[in-house]
């Protein structure tokens, strides 16, 4: 199970990328899921399609589109660099963006389903008790959809840890900078005699994935039990 320095670096980077992508993506996913579940507005289908696009596009294509938009010559990339000094291309930040984009549809789907399962009549009841709209959301809707948010977070995190195609296309495979677990495994398998090291990384990838699923199940069950009133 022991990893060499490069292995640890890949693991550390994967956790950093996954955590960043999940934490940044979650609020946005919550908002988009809310719009899709509860609101009707012109162009709703466009938003819906755009959110789901990374799920159906080849990851390489998504990575290429990110490169075009967020590369140092891309419009969004140049804007970010000039305004915030933030460079995404070939940096871990870019890997996080790629992971966020790829995991986003999974987060939105899980949260949207949870929101659609909330009885709007409970929200009406809260309003009759004097709660303004934001308070209704914070005190009724949010606690009730918490299992969905957790499920979405875990799905997004797992996707971020495992993301390969878009990441390698967008930010390449630079050890210590953009080489996450999957890229490291891929690299090791390209060189003769790298299999031993690769298998250890594969084991770690499995541990992370299974751990995430168990953690989410445990959290979701606790929240569900609280909500069901057991």
């Amino acid at each position: 199970m022991m990893l060499d320095a490069a292995g640890w670096e890949a693991l550390r980077l994967s956790l950093l990328v996954g955590t960043t992508a999940t934490l940044l993506g979650l609020p946005l996913a919550l908002w988009v899921a809310w719009l899709l579940a509860r609101k009707t507005f012109p162009g709703k289908w466009i938003l819906n399609a755009a959110v789901h696009l990374p799920l159906v596009l080849p990851p390489v294509v998504t990575g290429y589109l990110l490169l075009v938009a967020f590369g140092r010559q891309g419009p969004a990339g140049r804007f970010l660099e000039e305004t915030f000094g933030l460079i995404l291309a070939f940096r871990w930040t870019g890997a996080a963006l790629a992971a966020l984009v790829m995991g986003f549809p999974l987060m939105v789907r899980a949260i949207r389903l949870a929101i659609e399962a909330v009885d709007p009549r409970l929200e009406e009841a809260a309003a009759t008790l004097g709660a303004p709209r934001y308070a209704v959301f914070a005190t009724v809707t949010l606690p009730l959809i918490m299992p969905g948010i957790l499920a979405g977070a875990v799905m997004g995190f797992a996707k971020a840890i495992g993301e390969f195609g878009a990441t390698i296309t967008f930010v390449a495979n630079i050890p210590g900078q953009t080489q996450t677990l999957p890229s490291a495994i891929y690299s090791l398998l390209q060189v003769p005699g790298g299999e031993d090291a690769a298998i250890r990384l594969v084991l770690w990838a499995c541990i992370l994935a299974i751990g995430a699923v168990i953690a989410s199940e445990w959290l979701a069950r606790r929240v569900a039990a609280r909500i069901a009133g057991a």
Binding site: D119, R121, L122, E124, A125, A126, A127, T128, L129, G130, A131, P132, R133, A135, T139, V140, P143, L144, R226, I227, A228, G229, A230
Partner: protein, 361 residues
């Protein structure tokens, strides 16, 4: 305290044009399913925006489509008790009760302990809604609405989802609420037995319009309102006082026209009760009948005869100031040769009055 409603709304082939006022006490909004009751109460609460109209609470206009006034639900200061309690499933009964307190800007009208006592929910406070029975949930929901310190309580068929015994369990709490909480209530129901026990004023809704409105005792004894209430369910409500309880299974009640003996009354002597006597349970006789057992006989005078559509006629009787309503077939009417002003005797079977028809005055 007053509520003024004057609204018009139409959807899917249904149109509502209702105008009424509700004063202090309990105002019952009565009508068959589809009469527009829930539309009205939702418009008052702000959950539905009527196409046209004006709603004011104590002169405070909460809706006026002509002047673009439409106060959002959370700022109307009205409590709403729904048919399906709608308790928050993730909160305990106590947390549900306390939910509205953090938003209320009005002064405290009623305290938490008072509400808990009034509704008898002390033992339920730490439970979540999933572990409460239907009746318990509804009591907590009533408490939750009260503790938001509303100006008025809206209750939309609060007992309709409960079975008959559960309903009888809750009615006494509602009677206490009415007499102790001193909050005006708009009570929506299609069940006349509930209304007879609780309401002070009645608004009859039929096909989206107000067909009759007035004090409960007047409407219930109005022969013209009989077809609106349903001939089988129509019946006047009178006030009586308990004289003696459980005398061989029967209790003696004092009405203006005489004593009435009924089974199943448990209230202690001296209690004022409301008694609803169904029109179809009254038999009329021109002479005082002799040798009948198990009946109450009250001397009455015929005040009005109101031939209704169909085979029946509604007879309004004066029983020493109390009004009673009887229903006879046109044929009986002819045979007996009854005319207004004529004294006769109302015969009332003791077992005919359901325990549910007896409530606190």
């Amino acid at each position: 305290m007053s509520l003024e409603v004057d609204i018009a709304h139409g959807f899917l082939g249904f149109s509502l044009a209702a105008r009424f006022e509700a004063g202090p006490g309990v105002t019952a909004l009565f009508g068959r399913s589809g009469a527009g009751k829930t539309t009205v109460v939702n418009a008052v609460a702000g959950l539905l925006r009527p196409q046209k109209g004006r709603i004011a609470i104590d002169g405070d206009v909460v809706l006026d489509t002509k002047h673009g006034v439409d106060l959002p639900v959370h700022r109307r200061g009205l409590g709403y008790v729904f048919q399906d309690a709608r308790l928050f499933p993730h909160l305990t009964a106590r947390q549900n009760l306390q939910y509205g307190a953090r938003f209320t800007r009005a002064g405290m009208r009623i305290g938490e302990d008072e509400v808990i006592n009034l509704l008898g929910i002390e033992a339920l406070l730490d439970r979540r809604p999933a572990r409460l029975s239907g009746g318990e949930r509804q009591r907590v929901a009533i408490g939750r609405a009260l503790l938001a310190q509303p100006r008025m309580l809206l209750m939309d068929e609060p007992l309709a989802a409960l079975d008959a015994p559960r309903k009888q369990d809750i009615l006494p709490y509602l009677e206490r609420l009415k007499s102790e909480a001193r909050i005006p209530i708009l009570y929506v129901s299609h069940a006349l037995d509930e209304i007879a026990r609780l309401a002070d004023t009645m608004v009859l809704l039929q096909n989206g319009t107000v067909a009759a409105t007035g004090p409960l005792f007047d409407i219930m004894a109005d022969p013209e309102a009989m077809p609106l209430l349903g001939a089988r369910e129509a019946g006047a409500v009178i006030e009586v006082r308990v004289v003696e309880t459980d005398n061989g299974g029967l209790s003696t009640l004092q009405a203006a026209a005489g004593r009435i003996e009924l089974p199943g009354v448990t209230a202690p002597p001296g209690t004022e009760l409301r008694l609803r006597i169904l029109a179809q349970d009254i038999i009329l006789s021109k002479t005082r009948p002799d040798g009948l057992v198990g009946v109450n006989i009250l001397p009455v005078t015929i005040k009005a005869i109101h031939p209704g559509g169909g085979p029946g006629a509604a007879i309004l009787l004066d029983a020493a100031g109390d009004r009673l309503l009887a229903r006879l077939t046109a044929r009986t009417l002819e045979t007996l040769d009854l005319v207004p002003g004529q004294p006769c005797f109302a015969i009332l079977k003791a077992m005919a009055i359901a325990p549910g028809a007896v409530g606190r005055a």
